[in-house]
């Protein structure tokens, strides 16, 4: 029987590297789109539009890299990832809509930035993923 790990290991490293690179590219282009107008090009709309478009394109690359990463996972790795994604989606959905209705009812005395929700989801995902890795250690 031919060793398959070599294939699993190679694919895993390749997909992880691509995912890491696209995550970095997306993060950097997001920072550029966010701070560029204020710090670099004095809110010129064309440059701001280009920065946003580049960030969106990087986001598409990140999505493709993420899907390829998921397809290269083995059974347990996929379960851990799926559990973490499910928790992240659930918390994001519940907290997001919970905030909307609470705010609509006048229960939120302060304004929360729209960026707080994806940040929360990022934290939940990392925590859920680590818990899964530890659980099946």
């Amino acid at each position: 029987m031919q060793p398959q790990e070599a294939e699993h290991g190679r694919n895993s490293r390749k997909f992880n590297a691509a995912f890491a690179i696209w995550t970095l590219v997306w993060t950097l282009t997001l920072a550029l789109a966010r701070f560029g107008p204020e710090l670099l090009w004095n809110s010129q709309p064309v440059l701001s539009g280009i920065a946003v478009a580049v960030n969106l394109a990087a986001g598409v690359g990140w999505i493709v890299a993420t899907i390829r990463l998921l397809r290269g996972l083995d059974d347990l790795e996929r379960k851990i990832m799926l559990d973490a994604l499910g928790m992240t989606l659930g918390v994001g959905w519940v907290m997001g809509f919970g905030y909307v209705v609470a705010d609509g009812a006048g229960l939120i005395p302060w304004d929360i930035s729209l960026g707080a929700l994806p940040a929360l989801m990022g934290v939940v995902y990392i925590a859920s993923f680590l818990i899964g890795k530890i659980r099946y250690r």
């Binding site: 029987m1 398959q4 790990e5 070599a6 699993h8 290991g9 083995d74 347990l76 790795e77 099946y136």
Partner: protein, 64 residues
């Protein structure tokens, strides 16, 4: 689901990493299957049986 992976590895002096290499999964996955924390998919179960040159029911049992 119960299994004899630990026993079968010992007979062949294989580590979990060796088995992981042979069936194309991570070492953590082999450990989780072996300790009963995780049940493998059918393809992985068949690959495990094949690598030990045994029938699948000689590697896994449902414990009933």
């Amino acid at each position: 689901m119960k299994n004899r992976i630990s026993e079968l590895r010992a007979e062949r002096a294989w580590t979990q990493a060796d088995v992981a290499q042979l069936i194309g999964v991570s070492r953590q996955t082999v450990n989780a299957i072996e300790t009963g924390k995780f049940d493998p998919s059918l393809p992985v179960a068949f690959r495990l049986a094949r690598v030990f040159s045994l029938a699948i029911e000689d590697v896994f049992s449902d414990g009933e």
